[in-house]
């Protein structure tokens, strides 16, 4: 920390670069821990011991070391897709402020582009489900695109609401403005938060929409698409889905509870505070998710559109409210 500050004092532009680099590493390192934490809490709520916190790291390392078993008719695309999904999700996650604002490259992709990057990852994942030509892959892909066809517009409308409140679609700027007290409580913001939570649950294949822990064909969406993957490919896809969950929790945290985020010209102390609060926010978000998942049953596939349609309507209402309350 002291050394970093010394570099920062000597060359001021180095701080944002260091923050950006640290951010890329932090999201990658913390994502499996978050999954382990959620699994642990869920297990404890069910009065089980549960796997150790670090289990997902072990799983990933083990998978990476194993050979890949490819289906006979898997194409070149099938082998490229895990890297594309991982890269797109990682880039998206690296652009969401976690512990500090003023990421060096935050201007290269705004919130709409982050939504687009997640869309790219999903597009390829759905293609992977169809590549081997099994019926499970197809069922997963077709349900995934049905869910996405409602979740994505809802997310875009949430982005519209936030952008209209903050006057910018840059996530760093949005978070910075949310930190100031002048925003206050708004109906639109509450609606957007509610919608965003629903979208986050659906997009991450969490319980009322999908069950990450099951291999029962009638209930699975995400797991069905990746059924044919093994070894390092599976490791990358699992890591990407962990990154996506982290991304959504970070997104909700940095927009709706932005307190503690270090400013772009931060002292080491502020950065440490930012990091500490970020860990706290992640733990709180993960715990909430675990409690929510434990207390609710999975819904039928064709109930999901109603659930997500609700999110879309809430987000649209929030946007319309922003339009009509602005009087020139």
């Amino acid at each position: 920390m002291i050394r970093e500050a010394a570099i920062g004092l000597a060359i001021p532009w180095a701080i944002p670069w260091a923050i950006q680099g640290a951010q890329m590493a932090v999201v990658l390192l913390l994502a499996p821990l978050l999954i382990g934490f959620i699994r642990k809490i869920k297990a404890r709520l069910l009065r089980r011991q549960g796997p150790p916190l670090m289990q997902m790291y072990r799983d990933l390392v083990r998978l990476l070391r194993k050979e890949v078993v490819l289906a006979d008719n898997a194409s070149w695309l099938f082998r490229v897709i895990p890297y594309v999904i991982f890269a797109a999700t990682w880039v998206a996650a690296a652009l969401v402020p976690t512990f500090a604002l003023g990421l060096t490259f935050s201007w290269s992709a705004d919130l709409i582009a982050i939504v687009g990057l997640l869309g790219t990852a999903r597009f390829f994942l759905a293609l992977a489900g169809l590549d081997v030509g099994t019926s499970f892959g197809g069922i997963g892909s077709s349900r995934e695109v049905m869910i996405a066809s409602l979740a994505e517009p809802a997310l875009i409308m949430i982005v519209f609401t936030l952008a209209l409140i903050a006057g910018s679609t840059q996530l760093s700027t949005v978070a910075g403005i949310m930190q100031t007290a002048q925003i206050g409580l708004r109906v639109s913001l509450a609606l957007a938060l509610f919608a965003l939570i629903i979208v986050a649950i659906a997009e991450n294949a969490r319980i009322p929409v999908d069950n990450p822990a099951t291999h029962l064909e009638l209930t699975m969406v995400h797991e069905a698409m990746v059924l044919e993957y093994s070894g390092r490919h599976l490791a990358l896809i699992e890591a990407a889905s962990a990154l996506k969950l982290l991304l959504y929790i970070s997104l909700i945290a940095c927009v709706f509870v932005p307190w503690g985020l270090a400013a772009p010209t931060a002292t080491p102390r502020a950065l440490a505070v930012g990091f500490g609060t970020y860990i706290g926010k992640l733990a709180f978000g993960g715990a909430l998710l675990a409690v929510f998942e434990t207390s609710i049953a999975k819904m039928r596939v064709f109930r999901v559109p109603v659930f997500l349609g609700g999110a879309l309507m809430l987000a649209l209402l929030a946007t319309v409210l922003m339009f009509v309350t602005r009087v020139r």
């Binding site: 289906a71 008719n73 709409i112 049905m146 209209l164 070894g231």
Partner: protein, 667 residues
């Protein structure tokens, strides 16, 4: 220069005449080779003029009406659309050098192809209403002849009939629009129309007629019905031209009339344009999801993209009417950028569909599958096109979608209440359409190219010739370039946006790192190049690290599929089953989709049946009653043919009295 362009058009007409007498093999090379070269020439010239900015150039030729002459005019708008038209035409011609070899009746295609290109160029260059309408009609008729190239297929005959009716209707609406614009003095020249003001009711009527005329050619819902019939019926390179280019000429017609000739807009003009744009985008993609004919699916996506373009145009109208010229320039640039993008990826996708058709003889994706193994290059190109049309970063479709969203985000400052409610709705519809488009292209690419072959035709497929591949790969490169370096396109479109919207976006070339900034850096920026580089670097870095430090072993084995033994390809997901969840969620309302299952009793040997019925409500509610009314009226009027001489005389007499009465009453 304008003269070069007109000479190029004239040479296309000469080529068309030559194609009638030449033997078909030589004719094919000559027609497509010459078309490619002439289009490339006009493309380069148009690009040069747009960058040099020597506008306007005018020319009057002693053609058409003797006292009028044919006016031709090149301004920034014409130049931009000339680039779109000729870029598409050049690639389609190169594609056709290889693809046209498989044409079974080449003499029904070759003469009309250069004529079609010439007519589209003439529409864009026309400087008076008469030349415009003449070229417009020539464009319709040439493309109609191309639609009927395979006239022995019954469905093509129907497509040609519906197309001819709708094209006639569209031209009629434009004729009335120009008649209103010409005013009491009857001026055809665009320069005079532009200079004279129009009363508000005339302007409103002209807007409605332009929406009917140009909108029916472009494919606005509910005037789109001919498009998914006619575009797939033509040979694939012509489908690419009709979908990628001719619909853009229709957009040009609308923009020319509404933004240029009609003068300063009223705010309410934007309402119908926005509403129709949003509805068209959503309906187009929902229709597309229900299709399993690859070319028809692509044609319905054209409808969707026209909706996106018209939404941008509607926003530009709203901003311009309220004096927000920078925002108007942003919306206009977004629409024009999407015009270019849609030409690129839709042509690319139709080339891909043509290649699949050549390789397998199939358009029905339910009978394809697994083509990625036999056709690796085509499948790569089609994948790139699918990513681009689904508006996914870092390709070009995302950039124009992003610019449109940025324009939507500027619209809360619009003071009118109608727009305050309509614009967020349109924004939601555009987001919805984009998500559904991604779903549709997962289906189109996944069912066609991935999985296992569903028929012997798909099993025996082979890669296509090098001309077709060159055309496809060329457009892949352009899609990537337009997606990663959008700033240059925006700057090139700046004079057009200035001409039509009255303002300019910030100059993108001065922004560091080649980012694009719609309004201000603090508000929003996007850098396609960096996003592309980030994904490429982090992906390849991951691959390198994983392969080096972990494992690179691969073993092939049978598919796992949850432990089920390998069944036949019949058990694969089909296009119909892929779209089933979406059909159940949206189709039950929009298409009145009904599923019926008849399961025979145990022991009964009858096959189990599953039937899906869809209704095209627009066709049933709007078009069938009109067709019914026309049929009824003709049957009633038919009796007029069989009157006695006395009755005919009576009819003549009554008409005469009526006319005299009208003369007497009229002032």
């Amino acid at each position: 220069m304008l003269l070069v362009m007109l000479l190029a058009v004239a040479s296309l007409i000469v080529v068309a005449a030559a194609a009638i007498i030449l033997p078909s093999d030589l004719g094919r090379r000559l027609v497509y080779g010459a078309s490619a070269m002439v289009s490339a020439l006009v493309l380069v010239d148009g690009g040069w003029q747009l960058l040099a900015g020597r506008f306007p150039q005018e020319m009057v030729l002693p053609l058409t009406l003797p006292w009028l002459g044919a006016h031709f005019r090149l301004d920034a708008l014409s130049a931009a659309f000339l680039i779109v038209v000729n870029l598409g035409a050049a690639a389609a011609s190169v594609f056709a050098i290889g693809y046209g070899r498989h044409e079974d009746a080449p003499n029904r295609v070759l003469p009309f192809y250069p004529l079609f290109l010439a007519a589209m160029n003439l529409v864009v260059l026309a400087g008076d209403a008469f030349t415009f309408l003449l070229s417009w009609e020539l464009m319709s008729l040439a493309s109609w002849a191309l639609v009927l190239a395979h006239h022995r297929v019954p469905s093509n005959l129907r497509a040609g009939y519906v197309y001819l009716l709708m094209a006639g209707f569209g031209t009629f609406a434009l004729l009335l629009a120009f008649a209103l614009l010409a005013g009491p003095a009857g001026y055809y020249d665009f320069a005079i129309i532009r200079a004279s003001g129009h009363p508000s009711w005339v302007a409103g009527l002209v807007l409605a007629l332009a929406l009917l005329g140009a909108g029916s050619k472009a494919g606005l819902v509910p005037l789109h019905v001919w498009l998914p019939l006619a575009h797939p019926a033509a040979p694939s390179h012509v489908s690419a031209l009709m979908s990628g280019v001719m619909t853009k000429v229709a957009v040009y017609g609308f923009v020319r009339i509404v933004f240029d000739l009609l003068g300063p807009p009223d705010w309410w003009w934007s309402m119908p344009v926005l509403a129709l744009g949003g509805i068209t985008a959503v309906m187009g993609v929902l229709y597309a999801l229900m299709q399993h004919d690859l070319k028809r699916l692509l044609a319905y996506h054209t409808v969707e993209n026209i909706g996106i373009i018209f939404s941008g145009l509607g926003l530009a109208l709203a901003f311009k009417a309220n004096g927000m010229y920078v925002a108007a320039a942003l919306a206009m640039t977004a629409a024009l950028f999407h015009v270019l993008n849609h030409m690129l990826f839709k042509s690319l996708l139709f080339f891909g569909a043509g290649a699949v058709l050549t390789a397998t003889g199939e358009r029905d994706i339910e009978r394809l599958g697994g083509l990625i193994h036999a056709m690796p290059v085509t499948s790569f190109a089609f994948l790139a096109g699918s990513l681009a049309i689904s508006a996914l970063p870092p390709l070009n479709g995302f950039v124009s979608e992003w610019l449109t969203f940025q324009a939507v985000l500027l619209s809360p400052d619009l003071p009118q209440w109608g727009l305050k409610f309509l614009v967020p709705g349109v924004g939601a519809m555009l987001a919805f359409a984009a998500a559904l488009a991604a779903a549709c292209f997962v289906k189109a690419f996944g069912i066609t190219f991935l999985g296992r072959a569903r028929s012997t035709a798909a099993t025996n497929a082979h890669e296509v010739d090098r001309f077709s591949l060159a055309a496809m790969l060329g457009f892949v490169v352009l899609c990537v370039l337009a997606g990663t370096l959008p700033g240059f396109v925006i700057d090139a479109l700046a004079p057009v946006a200035h001409l039509l919207a009255g303002g300019t976006m910030p100059t993108q070339a001065t922004i560091p790192w080649l980012s694009i900034v719609p309004v201000a850096q603090a508000r929003s920026s996007y850098n396609g190049l960096l996003v592309f580089v980030f994904i490429a670097v982090s992906g390849s870095l991951t691959a390198a690290v994983v392969h080096r430090c972990a494992s690179r072993a691969v073993r092939r084995g049978p598919a796992w599929d949850c432990g089920f033994p390998d069944a036949s390809p019949i058990t694969e997901y089909t296009a119909g089953s892929f779209a089933q969840p979406i059909r159940r969620v949206f189709g039950t309302i929009v298409f009145q989709a009904r599923e019926s299952v008849s399961m025979p009793r145990p022991g009964d040997t009858a096959p189990a049946q599953f039937q899906v019925s869809l209704r095209d409500l627009i066709w049933d509610i709007l078009y069938l009653p009109i067709a019914g009314a026309v049929g009824y009226a003709t049957e009633r009027l038919n009796t007029l043919q069989f009157l006695t001489i006395r009755r005919y005389l009576a009819v003549v007499f009554i008409t005469l009295v009526g006319l005299l009465f009208a003369l007497a009453v009229a002032p």
